[in-house]
Amino acid sequence: MKLKIRHKLAIWMLVVGVIPAFVASRRGVTIIADRFTDTLQDESDRNLRVGISLTVDHVNNVKNAAISLSKKSVLVELATRKSLSRQDQDLLRTEHSGLGNGVIHVVDPQGKLAGSVSLGESSGLVAVKNQEHSYETLLAHAQPQWSNMLQNYAITLNFYSWEGQFTDNSRQRFLFVQAGAPLFDVNYNLLGGVIVTVALDDLFCRNVSTLLGSQIILYPEGPAADQAFSTSFENPDDLTRPVESPLDRGLVQGAWKSPAGRHFASFTWHGMEYAASMQRLGDLKGRAVGLLVVALDITKMQKGKSDAVFTLMLSALLALAVVIVLATWFSRNLANPLGRLVRGAREVASGKLDQRLDVASGDEIGELADAFNDMIRNLQQSNDRQNEQMSEIQTLNEIINAMSVQVGVSSVISEGLEAISVALQTSAAQLWLLHDENGWRKVHHIGGLEAELARLTRDDRPLVDYAATRDAMLELADLGDGDELGNPDGLRGPFLAVPIRYQGRVIAVIFLLRSPDSPAWTDTHRNVIRAVSDQMGMYIVNAQLFEKISRFNEQLEFMVHRRTMELQETNKKLGSTVDELQNTQAQVLISERLAGLGSLLAGVAHEINSPIGAIDAAVDNLLKSLQITLSSLLYIVDSEKDPQVLTYLLTLVQHYLESVTLPFQSRDQNRERIREVTELLAARGVENARSLGRKLVENGTDTYVVNFLNQYENVEASTYLQLMNELFTIHRTAQATATAIHAVKRIVMALRSYSHVKQDVPEPVNIHDVIETSLIILANRLKHNITIDKRYGELPPITVYGDELSQVWTNLLSNAAHAIDGKGTITIETLNLGSRVAVKIRDTGRGIPPELIDRIFDPFFTTKKKGEGTGLGLGIVSRIVRERHGGEIEVTSVPGDTCFTVYLPIMVTPRTPEPPALQV
């Protein structure tokens, strides 16, 4: 079924009005109920907490009373003398009247009653009046408590539920608070204790109730849950008579059993509604002894709640009624004009733009009709305007196309003006261009009257000057009407003077004249000429620029040609400079080698000096030893009867000389051996047994000596030992001398080969020998804490300029030593790569910064301090390796690991006829 809009509207309004009203009122009622319950719970809870606090406060007061009483001298007196004057009793009663009904007891250290004072009205409690009885009963309940006070000198505090006896012989159960404090004399000797017992009776409940503003009921733990209680409720019929339990038994029992110890309920009492919150009270051991009920009067709150619900329902109904009335009215008033609107819209859609709607209501529908009418009007106008604009755009396109295909200034102007002239149907068109130095010049004309147009003036100046100063174009419906114009030829017809701008500056002016009988200029004309004038300015300037650039280009070509000629000449000059430079470099290489030699020489001299010194000392020792040997021999030959002894000794020595290799022994073993030998020597009466023993073991001759001594146990040991020792010494000294001489020889050889500068042809050498030579030369620098780690591979002899290579290794090793600054490891590694060999010299020094690593092979580059190096070292190394040997040198460096790798072919072909150092 198709529904009319007014029906839909009515249904919608009902839906959006009625449903929310219904939902809202239902929600509202629920919320009010929930909030009421929440508020009630919170309020009850708060009340209960305050009620508890007030109760506990009272308990605290009882405790404080006990403490303050324990410091009172009268009670000390009571404890010692067991009696108290009437006056003192009254005083105590007055002082503690705020505690309510109760009794003060004093006990001795054994817990026996010493005396008592009753407090307040005591509600006619027999127990209080009959002191003995009351105390005995109390004691039965409170025994552990009192023992704690008396044994541990502790303040005690507890709740008790206890049945007391009244004067009328009825018995009543109460909740009591009892506080105890020990009593001391001045010497802190225990005298006993003060016990304050206060009943939480109706008086107490009324006190709390007054402070709290709610009613209080207190049920002590006991057999009949709702029989015994104290309360602030009063019997409204007769204030003197006790009230019935406001809560029924079921409620009270439910609260006792509630696991959380807290319970909420509501009850009615004498027509008033109460919310009861209940809290179980426990004693020190956690046993339930009482139930505290705080009853909040909620009669008013309940009334408030009903009022709120009623008001809410009423407003919901009212709202509903209003919605229905409104829905009816709206649907009536909206539907009729809407129908007319719909019809009008259909007509417009079918193309009838002259439609007008007549809806005369003043509301939004009326406004909608007016807006509809306006819309149609605007639609019509914009339709007309659109047609005009289409023709303008077409014209414009034609003119701009005519200009855009041109490059030269004159052709842009002529084609542009031509197009304008055709588009605007002029009889004459004239363009003036601004030439910087010469002012305005007429550059193009189309049609007749060329000179006549140019003669037009204003204020006695050519019209073009005036037109150029104007912001807008100058438009005249008829040229003949312009009074301010100088028009000597009496020209007529619609006229336009159009300034052409580029970047705000007028660069040209166009005069346009139509024949006198033509109609006046239209908006279309004006729009076209306005748009074209901007475009034209740009095209003219572009064309001017293009012409300028063409001229520059020609000049540029000429200049390039001239510079090329000059460069060729400079090149020639440079060629000869390079030659000179090469010569200089060769000389520098020689001086570097000599400089290196000089700096090495001091070290070499030192190197030679040490072995020479050793030789010198050795010769001295030899002489001394020979003398001692001779005298020992003489003595032995003289005194020893058994010639076998000497023979055996000499055989042993001979044996030693033949097999002399020093056995290696660890220090620990050595020490052990030294001890053994020393003991043996000492046993045989040798002097300095310890130092001699050590010497023998260190020299490895101990075995021979021990052998000898064991063979001949009766000989005079020291003489033979001396002889033996001297013979060993002579041998060792001779060996040392030979070693020293060999060292000197090596150094001299090395020096000779280093300084051997001229080598014409490559010769086969063992590359390791060459490296060793360099090491000898540098020995002085590589001492101390520098470790040389040699990792030589199996290399064939290679044919190279060995002496020059020596310079390479010397340089690299010297740099490495410099880099590690006297401490670290230099590794020399050689590798056989087949047709090539590689030598790696690696150090653990500080490394080469990455930004410098590309420059280290440049001549004169150095990182050493001024005066420390010539900076030629690595440059020469590079030349010797690369140019002389056709090898390669690579370097990698990070702090702690710098490695120079030299690659050499195993066979060098003499490519350079002379070594670079000798080219001069």
């Binding site: 919608w12 959006v16 009005g17 929310p20 009203a21 939902v23 809202a24 929600r27 919320i31 907490r49 508890i52 606090s53 506990v56 308990v59 605290n60 405790k63 403490i67 704690n148 541990n152 000198y153 502790a154 303040i155 005690t156 505090l157 507890n158 709740f159 506080a179 010497n187 802190y188 959380a260 110890g261 807290r262 809290q279 179980r280 009270l281 426990g282 004693d283 020190l284 505290l292």
Partner: protein
């Protein structure tokens, strides 16, 4: 139409209310702790005072922890550890999957950082004590326990840390549970305020906000031990300076724990139906130190006379009202050495000299007391404000004075402020002093070495307030602290040292106070560590 819809929403107020955020913390998910003093810092390494320590211990965790029930060391951030046979090298392996509050995973570097920032600062500061640029907040715990002990702390790999000691230290493992060496995520040490504003720990709670009187922590929902994520959401520490206000707030259930309450209130709190009073064993000893280098107390008989003259039983009862055990030696008989007790039941060693004024008088005569004609009263210094382990210091001092005067020793009680007290004791100008020590690491070493060893007499750092030196005692105690191999050996050494202590009487031990915690009945599951920290994460809300 839209207007009508809006109207509809306005009529329906409940739906909008519930989404409001950033409002007061939900009471049923919040546990609030109140005390009388402000928290001074949240940096574990700098924390001093119970308040800072308590908050810090909720946000940060150490490598190990002590089980509150068995009092045995248990893994925490370290999953396991090995100790070299010489006791010097300790390798700790970290638990996997632990993340800091900001999501960074825990690794060995963080552990190294947590140690090194203290170690380096202390070393740098010693080298240049006047250089203000060296960030230093005291690092008291580092200085007290590790300075001079730890050789190095290194990461072996991302999960393993090696700590090398300079000498073996038997309670080393115990010491690592101290909050001062909790593990923090590394940060820029130049900004010492970092940890006061950011939460960089691994603990079950994280910092939400800190204002002068209020610190709000929230549950760390990504806590590594899922079984121990707290059952409630917010933990709030609030300063309420007035004792009475604090008690009222507790009674009104606005807060759940109230510390520093007046002990006279305890009996009332016990009876309050909405409150509970917990008391637990705690590591502490309260004692009377006798200055063994001054006046008559240099004589052993006179010190022994003092021991016999004081009726300690009575004094402890009156002062603590049942919240303390009588002390019989430097440590409580509940003190364990690596899980084993030092004293047996009815151990004669754990029985102090009896109260016997007659014997005291005889000993005074024997020791020649008063023969030099000196009549001055002997000073008894004490800190006048109550402490956790000593609720009524002045009462205690007066009771002691009373007992001593009974046997003829004149005493002048000198209640002093904390700083002045420290100064007097460091200068050794006291004859007697009431002192208490609450241990951090659950090991006798703190007491025997820290409070009685001859090396701690040095006046600048001295914690040996009796100025007690005895070569044999010193040797035994030193061996005991290094005897990491065997608990039995340590126990035997401590027993021998106790014998000397009993004979020489540098102190009269008085009490081991129980820690008392007044709390609301709204919470259950209260656990306390031997170092007196409440284990908040195991608390639960009781359903009403």
């Amino acid at each position: 139409m839209t207007r009508l819809l809006l109207l509809f929403l306005l009529v329906n107020p409940v739906s909008c209310r519930k989404e409001e955020a950033g409002k007061p913390l939900a009471h049923h998910e919040t546990i609030t702790v109140a005390w009388s003093k402000d928290v001074n810092t949240l940096d574990p390494a700098c924390a001093v005072g119970m308040e800072s320590a308590e908050v810090v211990a909720q946000m940060y965790e150490g490598l190990v922890t002590t089980d509150p029930i068995t009092r045995q060391i248990r893994p925490l951030l370290a999953e396991r550890w090995e100790q070299s046979p010489d006791g010097l090298v300790w390798d700790f392996t970290l638990r996997q999957g632990v993340r800091f509050h900001d999501g960074t995973p825990l690794d060995a570097d963080a552990v190294v950082f947590s140690f090194r920032r203290q170690m380096d600062a202390v070393v740098a500061h010693r080298a240049k004590p006047d250089d203000a640029r060296i960030p230093l907040c005291g690092y008291d715990y580092w200085k007290a326990y590790y300075d001079g002990l730890i050789q190095s702390v290194k990461a072996i790999n991302p999960r393993r840390i090696r700590i090398v000691l300079k000498y073996p230290y038997a309670p080393f493992l115990n010491s690592l549970e101290m909050f001062a060496v909790s593990i923090v995520r590394s940060f820029d040490v130049d900004d010492m305020e970092t940890l006061n504003n950011r939460s960089l720990g691994t603990g079950p709670f994280r910092l939400v906000s800190r204002t002068p009187d209020r610190i709000v922590l929230s549950r760390n929902d990504h806590y590594w031990d899922e079984s121990r994520v707290p059952a409630f959401r917010y933990l709030v520490f609030q300063t309420i300076r007035e004792n009475r206000q604090r008690l009222l707030a507790l009674e009104g259930q606005r807060i759940d724990f109230a510390f520093h309450l007046n002990p006279a209130r305890y009996p009332t709190i016990q009876l309050h139906p909405l409150l509970q009073l917990r008391s637990d064993y705690s590591n502490n000893t309260v004692y009377l130190a006798l200055n063994t280098r001054r006046g008559p107390f240099a004589v052993r008989q006179i010190r022994l006379a003092v021991a016999h003259a004081i009726n300690r039983d009575k004094i402890v009862k009156m002062v603590y009202q049942g919240m303390a055990e009588l002390a019989h030696g430097p440590v409580s008989s509940q003190m364990l050495v690596q899980g084993k007790p030092i004293f047996r039941e009815n151990d004669p060693l754990a029985r102090w000299h009896d109260y016997d004024p007659e014997k005291a008088r005889a000993l005074l005569r024997e020791g020649g007391f008063g023969l030099d004609g000196e009549q001055r009263p002997y000073t008894l210094y004490l800190i006048q404000s109550p402490r956790n382990y000593l609720p009524e210091p002045l009462l205690m001092a007066n009771l002691i004075r009373h007992d001593l005067e009974q046997v003829g020793i004149p005493v002048q009680v000198k209640p002093t402020e904390y700083m002045e007290y420290k100064r007097i004791l460091k200068l050794g100008q006291h004859d007697m002093a009431i002192h208490g020590w609450a241990g951090e690491i659950s090991d006798p070493d703190e007491y025997y070495y820290g409070l009685l060893h001859g090396s701690n007499v040095v006046r600048a750092t001295g914690t040996n307030h009796a100025y007690f030196t005895n070569d044999r005692f010193d040797d035994l105690v030193k061996r005991a602290r290094q005897a990491h191999e065997s608990a039995d050996l340590r126990i035997s050494l401590y027993r021998q040292a106790t014998e000397i202590f009993r004979h020489e009487v540098p102190w009269v031990p008085l009490a081991h106070a129980r820690v008392v915690i007044p709390a609301s009945r709204r919470v259950s599951g209260i656990e306390v560590t031997p170092a007196t920290f409440l284990v908040y994460r195991s608390l639960r809300m009781v359903d009403r």
